[in-house]
């Protein structure tokens, strides 16, 4: 158990030992419900064939919700990004999870990502805009450019998240790269 826990992101061997001991001490309150929950997740959670997110249903709850706007597709790299955007509650359209970003270092190529499915979805009638919500990293933005090139022939509007000063951020404390990006993407007030 310690060996397996140690393979989880954010847990090293020491923290895995502490987590295992804690679970064993709280057998009824934590260990057994957690084991049941893990078994349920393994049996029922699957990848949504439409957006690539995770859910117990396929299509997932976000894809089948009739209250969401079919004309907007927000493209993200990972399922965690969908959860982050849903936490913010600012987006009411559909999602598309690429499954990563292009990376020469990690050997991730365009065919490893769900780009063909995105193009197919963007071609559907009624789709007005594709929003590229990818990381402000070299790999994230290289992926955004690549996806945008593939969508340009469809005639759908392609936008990306802006980059700049975070809420609560003070200019003095920002790194030079963020300041440059903020200046480059300034807008009239």
């Amino acid at each position: 158990m310690i060996e397996l826990l140690g393979k989880l992101p954010g847990l090293g061997p020491r923290s895995a030992r502490r987590a295992a001991l804690h679970l064993l001490k709280k057998r009824e309150a934590l260990l057994e419900p957690l084991a049941q929950s893990l078994a349920d997740a393994a049996a029922h959670v699957r990848t949504c064939g439409e957006c690539g997110s995770l859910d117990t249903a396929d299509p997932c709850a976000l894809c089948s919700a009739s209250s969401r706007d079919d004309g907007l597709i927000c493209v993200v790299a990972e399922v965690g990004d969908v959860w982050a955007l849903e936490r913010a509650g600012a987006f009411r359209g559909r999602y598309h999870v690429l499954g990563g970003v292009l990376s020469a270092l990690d050997g991730v190529r365009p065919e490893d990502l769900r780009i063909a499915k995105l193009v197919e979805r963007a071609r559907r009638p009624g789709v007005r805009e594709v929003i590229l919500a990818l990381a402000a990293t070299v790999d994230g933005q290289a992926t955004a450019h690549f996806v945008s090139e593939h969508l340009s022939a469809i005639g759908v509007t392609v936008s990306r998240l802006s980059q700049g000063v975070p809420v609560g951020g003070e200019l003095e404390l920002l790194d030079d790269g963020t300041l440059l990006a903020a200046l480059a993407s300034r807008r009239a007030v």
Binding site: A104, L105, R109, T137, V138, F146, D176, A181, S185
Partner: protein, 245 residues
């Protein structure tokens, strides 16, 4: 204890452990050197360790065969943030970095190649000069790893003017007059590669890619048992779409 302090270009960084990262930097006097960066995956360090940034780094290791670690790593020029909004510039950066990573030996200095990168990276957003600088960088990479082309004079007549072809076998230039009868067997040498004042005509950048690509593939990557990096193919596609070839 081994230790050096130098300016270096970030070739890449990948997370390692809970919050660290292994960064690969390219320094003028030390070449391509990997090292562990404590807190390298943190919110403070991630913007610094973006590919293409120039940093000032201190590398330390107890012995030469250890991975070593970088501490501190300070941002000098945030090139990545400038290039991010330009698809062609970002594709060129990815290609140049991929060629350096795949084509150079670990921990071996390539000062001329480093100087070429220092010229190239800040100029990648300048559409007029980036193709010439980039393709010259590829020719420079061939020279740096020991497979330089001889583009100074015609291999047949000895003439230094009117060079128009390169032999795919020897890598030596041929003049237009001497090469014309064998034009279908030779690689075209675009004038801007030998004369910095020559204008870049349509098709010249594609010819320069074909010329450098021929030798990079056969003399560098095939011999190492690795293929041409995908990033270079994507750069040619991107610049082709932008009408820059």
């Amino acid at each position: 204890m081994l230790e050096w302090i130098d300016d270096a270009l970030v070739l890449g960084a990948r997370p390692h452990g809970e919050s660290g990262a292994v960064a690969e930097l390219f320094a003028r006097a030390h070449g391509r050197v990997a090292g562990y960066v404590h807190g390298g995956a943190s919110r403070r360090m991630q913007p610094v360790l973006q590919q293409g940034n120039l940093v000032r780094a201190t590398w330390k290791a107890r012995t030469g065969d250890q991975l070593g670690h970088y501490a501190p790593v300070e941002l000098v020029e945030p090139h990545a943030a400038v290039l991010m909004s330009d698809a062609g510039a970002l594709a060129a950066l990815a290609s140049a970095v991929a060629l350096v990573r795949a084509g150079t030996a670990d921990r071996q200095a390539y000062p001329a190649l480093y100087d070429a990168l220092m010229l190239l990276v800040p100029a990648l957003t300048e559409r007029e000069i980036a193709p010439a600088l980039y393709t010259r960088f590829e020719i420079g990479l061939l020279a740096a790893v020991g497979y330089g082309l001889d583009l100074t004079r015609c291999a047949v007549t000895g003439a230094a003017e009117g060079l128009a072809f390169v032999s795919p076998k020897t890598g030596r230039a041929a003049s237009a007059a001497a090469g014309e009868p064998y034009a279908d067997k030779l690689l075209r040498l675009p004038p801007f590669l030998t004369d910095s004042d020559a204008p870049i005509e349509s098709g010249d950048v594609a010819d320069a890619f074909a010329l450098a690509g021929w030798f990079l593939e056969r003399r560098v990557f095939d011999r190492q048992g690795v293929g041409m990096p995908d990033a270079r193919r994507r750069l040619i596609e991107t610049w082709g779409r932008e009408g820059r070839l």
